[in-house]
Symmetry: C2
Subunit: 438 residues, 2 copies
């Protein structure tokens, strides 16, 4: 069988992994795909690095566009990242009739609508399994494996850096800056960790999952994003005492009024499997109306796990390369003419439970004020703990767990708390996700 | 778009679920599949039951062969079970050019080689996602999602009945018969629980997973199968004390000499995610050389979870219905001419760790005899606990955890133990699976 010819754009961590796994497992991958998958051109700004890895086994160049326009290339693998040159190259590749495989979550989440339109117009495929949760085949699971279901919600630990940091904070009682430094030392966090710790990376991924789960366009611009930099070790400890663990969750949920799309730290009951996903691992919990809960777990980053997803896409595209577009799985799981543009709900409309921590002066009537403020807004209290003030201090911590309520009600209650003379300092508010009953 | 016409054979639990989910989610499933999927004929021995559920929405009959030969039917869904009439109907459907979707693990594990040959000859598809782990899309994950990997091993909790029983034994200190009775009361176990508790059902499923993971034929006849009926609450408790949980595992592993294919109870370290899979839930842990560990979790049985998998297959088959066979995913993940018939290793050649419990007379020198017997066979001891004899008894329990060793060495050691005058009664032997390092 004729090999299929692949052009690789970017041969850094994931590109290098893709090169190596394809070489190592060539025989087995060919047995699956029905024809050899061969990287015949590699573009990288760092030509020396490319040449060292590839030798004479493929053409190397620092001109990515020359690979995109090369008529000998069938599939372009885009591993450059970002939404600048990567977007231009992807659109150019599609325009010249090439299929594109990408691991670029920013690109798909931010420019996916434009890119899928271009692919649709050109009759080509864009595959992006590697963009979400690394080696876990979650795109395939949601888009194909759960096709029978009305998917109701997805909750994911989809950023390994923040999950590693939160695990260190819990296991070692570390502060956020100390745990971040540990993550950087061990290579789990970048020198500039903004994208990870502020939740942006997770927001890209949950945007993509929401689109394929609900058949809606990419709406990254409407996602609510809150990172973990403000998480205090005290809250990690209190959450633990109450039977919860703090995780950075990507959440999306379909309601009659619209779709929730949000990333923020959340308390998750410790008995839930998702709460046991520790260190740099990822997991995605999907709730479908027929199947109930299913969970997918694995490495969400790294050279070979991500390469695993890139190559799975290459096998799929190779198999469908010469097939009519009607036989292909639609990019967004639903046929392009059957995408429904449900609104994304503003955060004030989201309904969930809340963990609140207030610093109160140890004087009579304060708890009565707090409970009255909640009662006035019909917010039920699930649990309340007042701690003894530390030796010599005159302020004590009060921790509240509320029942489900709308976020705007909690915002109003927090404003009322802050106006109480006996409440001092910042009120800590972390959402609580019970993730269904079980 | 013209609907695709489905003939349903068997409208019991899963058939009823399939009917209902297809009806309920019709609009959404059509948006995914690109054309409506319609059940137009239903065959069931119990015609009254079929008519009550279906009404006039489909033709009902008690003659399944009339559905198979109906030229108006595109896809036959086989939900009869067993390897008798189900096999005949499946082969007949393939011969008349129909595609088959089945949830029948016994059929695929026992007659899959014959069935895939027939499908290959007829140019039709056989889809069997529902045969393994109910609603979890594990066939798709292994066959497509992990296509880049050399899969090294799979360990699965793939029988909900036995996992429910073992969970009850641990949580409530119940005996096996009491936990089985509870499972029967709650509908988790059949009146005749043989298939489940003796491990046969799990062996069907691990046989199928081994075939698609390693590109080998179905070899159910070579699987080693041991159930949970002999598990004693004392061992559940001792395992717990030592940081393990007892699970019925389906295991398959590829080694240079051949493939391990086995079902038996095993101690799993409590910190592994698989150990936290409780009640009737299923989970499959897959180790690939590139991706590392990935885990898939969900409901392994029940009307709608299984229907979820049946309908996902229907969507796939609908999409590929008119495509050339070359574009399809091969039945066994590897191209039919690239299946390799690796030998299945006999159990005596399997290498793993062991939990042993011996009843010994409390007299000097017994432990020295035991440790000498192990040392002579180069079996290292990972842990050894001698319990105090219960009040008034003159025999004490000794519990041993061994390092990895070949099963024939343990068999020999056990024979030597039994010949010691100070060892009495049956020696309990349960395998220990560490499932990789982490």
């Amino acid at each position: 069988m004729n090999p299929i010819h692949v052009g690789l754009l970017g041969i850094g961590t994931v590109g290098g992994g893709t090169w190596q796994v394809l070489a190592r497992n060539q025989e087995e991958i060919t047995r699956r795909a029905g024809r050899p998958i061969r990287i015949t051109a590699v573009a990288d700004k760092n030509l020396t690095r490319a040449r060292e890895l590839v030798g004479h086994a493929a053409r190397t160049t620092d001109d990515a566009m020359s690979v995109v326009t090369d008529p000998g290339i069938d599939i372009v693998v885009e591993l450059i990242g970002g939404t600048g040159i990567a977007r231009e190259l992807t659109l150019a590749a599609l325009r010249t009739g090439k299929h594109v495989v990408t691991a670029n979550k920013a690109l798909i989440a931010s420019c996916g609508n434009e890119i899928f339109d271009a692919a649709q117009a050109a009759g080509t495929m864009v595959a992006f399994e590697a963009a979400v949760a690394g080696g876990i085949p979650i795109i395939k699971a949601v888009r194909e494996g759960l096709a029978a279901n009305r998917i109701e919600w997805i909750a994911g630990i989809i950023n390994g850096t923040t999950n590693f940091i939160l695990t260190e904070m819990r296991d070692r009682g570390m502060s956020f800056p100390a745990a971040l430094a540990a993550a950087q030392r061990l290579g789990y966090a970048e020198a500039d960790p903004t994208f990870d710790v502020e939740g942006i990376d997770a927001a890209h991924k949950i945007t993509i999952l929401a689109a394929i789960a609900f058949g809606i366009p990419m709406r990254f611009d409407r996602a609510y994003v809150e990172g973990i930099a403000a998480i205090d070790p005290a809250d990690v400890a209190y959450a633990g005492e109450m039977g919860y663990r703090i995780k950075l969750l990507g959440m999306t949920r379909r309601l009659a009024a619209g779709v929730e799309l949000r990333v923020h730290p959340a308390l998750v009951p410790a008995r839930r499997l998702l709460a046991s996903v520790d260190g740099a691992m990822n997991a995605v919990l999907v709730h479908g109306d027929a199947v109930g809960d299913t969970l997918y777990y694995g490495k969400g980053a790294g050279a070979e796990p991500t390469a695993s997803a890139v190559i799975a896409d290459l096998v799929d595209v190779t198999r469908m390369h010469t097939a009519d577009p009607e036989h292909r799985v639609p990019h967004l799981a639903f046929q392009p003419d059957r995408i429904s543009d449900l609104p994304i709900l503003p955060m004030s409309e989201v309904e969930t439970s809340y963990y609140l921590r207030l610093k109160i002066a140890d004087r009579p009537g304060t708890l009565a004020d707090i409970t009255r403020i909640l009662a006035e807004r019909n917010i039920s209290i699930d649990a309340l703990i007042q701690k003894e003030p530390p030796e010599g201090a005159d302020h004590a911590d009060v921790i509240l767990l509320t029942d489900r309520t709308r976020e705007r009600e909690i915002d109003a209650a927090m404003a009322a708390f802050e106006s109480l003379p006996s409440v001092s300092g910042r009120i800590v508010r972390i959402r609580v996700e019970h993730l269904g009953r079980s």
